[in-house]
């Protein structure tokens, strides 16, 4: 009676992770094909789940046949269906794109790397699919623990920044757990839908306020919301390039999804906006995040570090959009989760490809790159234009929804912050383009090759990058369809249209 696909999503990569780590002892060359099979199957099943949800509506799955309020239930609706597809497909493409970089950066540890990679997918997919608050905590820690280990594979300061991330991340996870504890005391349930139905009579209770605050602060740490972002730039900069293009686009976006899930499906919008009336305070905090992220990005001299601060600023977009308190803002926030995952993976893959060739990502080493790696730089330009918000690319459309939402809500400060950060992004990217295009390669460090030689990266790395950059435009063109088919039905009725 049960369609098992939602469980397979999580169990398959988990099984393949064990097989990969076992295979590392027997035959190392088989690790990579196994990992590709695991993440490919996960992507395949997530697309199947999503098409099923599109056709037949929400999917419920009870693990072990225990019915929802008692057992752990997986609950896939349009919101997490589309995030599931984004997470598993991007992770799969990234695995193919970074094979060569991974083989060079840690030749001895390929087995461990791919096992951790698959476990990270398990964590993220589980966070997105689950309908149980405590199960979400466990999978959150699975994703976090694997990301600490993956980041520590890097060189130089990587272990130190990973340990700092671990301290911060553990505090975040524990705060979330504490919030769930308060919810459990008050409602006696851990199932999201069940808690949501039990909460309304308790809205005035102080314990529920405390639960909400703890959950939000905990998730805020994990998603690097501005004052809590300090772990992010170091961790993502010193991580190996194959890892940063996996974790940077996915981890923070999934945490924004968790925040939106808690807001609309557990505490419900009435509580967040009418009872607590936190809307404008949170929007002001996100204005601060956007402006500070943009300002700090201006001061960076390393390409990857610059992208990290852009992420901090983009998190501000999504949190602000979700807290604007109207349908346009929420649409913008959900659309931006998808678009930003795509844009960020493009940026970090392009950075990884450049690193593969010239081994240095300091801005003053990028001279003449347009001549040497034209295709990679073209993809970087596409991703940059999308981050800035130039019309045919998808970044424009989510920004458009966010600005519409800000105008409807009367939050002109948020609108100004969005425009300010777009302008700063113009400066940031055109500075990179200028160095890459006009910079005199003679002054750079050429590693022995003459400035005219084309040293483009291998096709195996370029093809995924090109597909993703084309995806930026495709997502932009089909924004209307996506919003109508996927996002509109999940906007809760309590939000002003």
């Amino acid at each position: 009676m049960n369609d098992h696909t939602p469980a397979l999503l999580i169990i398959l990569p988990l099984l393949f992770a064990f097989m990969v780590s076992g295979m590392a002892w027997i035959k190392k060359s088989l690790c990579y094909p196994l990992a590709v099979a695991g993440s490919g199957l996960c992507a395949f099943f997530s697309i199947r789940v999503f098409t099923h949800v599109l056709r037949h509506g929400t999917m419920q799955y009870s693990l072990g046949g225990w019915e929802a309020p008692w057992g752990i239930g997986y609950h896939v609706d349009l919101l997490n269906g589309v995030v599931l597809v984004a997470v598993s497909v991007l992770a799969f493409i990234n695995m193919i794109a970074t094979r060569k970089a991974a083989a060079i950066q840690f030749p001895e540890k390929e087995g461990a790397f791919y096992a951790l990679y698959l476990l990270f997918i398990v964590g993220l997919v589980g966070i997105v699919a689950t309908g149980d608050l405590f199960n979400l905590y466990v999978l959150l820690e699975v994703a976090s623990l694997t990301s600490y280990a993956l980041i520590a594979l890097g060189e130089g300061r990587a272990p130190l920044s990973s340990l700092n991330y671990l301290y911060m991340g553990t505090i975040g996870g524990c705060f979330y757990l504490l919030g769930v504890g308060y919810l459990y005391i008050m409602t006696g349930s851990l199932n999201m839908a069940d808690v949501a139905s039990l909460l309304p009579p308790l809205y005035e209770s102080g314990a529920i306020w405390v639960a909400f605050t703890f959950c939000m602060v905990g998730i805020g740490v994990k998603m690097a919301f501005f004052p809590l972002h300090v772990w992010l730039p170091n961790a993502y900069t010193y991580a190996p390039s194959a890892v940063s293009s996996l974790i940077a686009p996915l981890m923070t976006k999934v945490m924004v999804y968790v925040m939106i899930r808690l807001m609309i499906s557990v505490f419900c919008v009435d509580f967040a906006f009418s009872v607590l009336d936190l809307g404008s305070a949170m929007v002001w905090l996100s204005i601060l995040a956007i402006v500070m992220g943009a300002a700090l990005a201006l001061a960076q001299k390393n390409l990857k570090r610059l992208f990290c601060y852009i992420i901090v600023s983009e998190i501000g977009y999504m949190v602000g959009g979700a807290w604007l308190g109207n349908a346009a803002g929420m649409t913008g926030a959900i659309l931006h989760i998808l678009n930003d995952a795509l844009m960020t993976i493009c940026l970090f893959l392009a950075a990884g490809t450049i690193h593969y060739r010239i081994n240095n990502l300091d801005l003053d080493h990028l001279q003449g790159l347009f001549g040497r790696m034209p295709v990679t730089m073209a993809c970087l330009v596409a991703a940059g234009l999308s981050i800035i918000g130039v019309p045919p690319t998808c970044g424009f459309f989510s920004k458009w929804y966010l600005i519409t939402g800000a105008l409807q809500a009367g939050q002109y400060g948020f609108m100004a912050a969005l425009l300010f950060s777009s302008l700063v992004n113009v400066i940031l990217f055109f500075r990179v383009f200028e160095i890459g295009y006009y910079g005199d390669p003679g002054h750079g460090h050429m590693h022995g090759s003459s400035p005219e030689t084309r040293t483009e990266a291998p096709a195996a790395m370029l093809a995924p990058l090109l597909i993703l950059s084309a995806g930026l435009v495709v997502m932009g063109v089909f924004t209307g369809t996506i919003v109508a088919a996927v996002i509109d039905p999940i906007i809760p009725a309590g939000l002003a249209r």
Binding site: A149, A152, P159, L163, Y167, I171, C174, G181, Y184
Partner: protein
């Protein structure tokens, strides 16, 4: 003041977990040694485990196992006589999480020690700045 004391005494489990949690948080923020920070982190996690365990307890409650003996099914099971097992079971998972976090963190600390030959944060930062 006279109202406060009964409040503290009646809910002493919450106060204990808050005190433990603050000790852990203080160690994580103020200590300079990376392993001392880890000890703080563990105290922090343990305080939350104690919080969960304490909310499942009941005065006079016993372990939640129903006898299938002579009187099986004859008398009504009163939940007030049994401790709520669910928070305790949840904490088994949380203990596993905290042990594995500690394991990863100690592995990272070993890696850092091998690289810098010290675990004092200020010395590591001074060395990084000198480069």
């Amino acid at each position: 003041m006279s109202e406060l004391i009964p409040l503290i005494v009646a809910k002493y489990n919450y106060w204990l977990y808050i005190i433990l949690m603050m000790i852990g948080l203080y160690a994580m923020i103020a200590k300079n040694n990376l392993v001392k920070k880890l000890v703080g982190m563990n105290i922090f996690q343990t305080s939350i485990i104690l919080f969960y365990v304490s909310i499942g307890c009941k005065k006079g409650g016993t372990i939640p196992i129903i006898h299938h003996g002579i009187h099986a099914g004859r008398h009504v099971v009163d939940p007030a006589h049994y401790v709520n097992p669910l928070p305790h079971v949840l904490m088994l998972t949380a203990i596993v999480v905290s042990v594995s976090t500690l394991g990863v963190a100690l592995a990272l600390a070993v890696k850092i020690y091998n690289r810098y030959k010290t675990l004092e944060e200020d010395e590591i930062l001074a060395r990084l700045r000198a480069k």
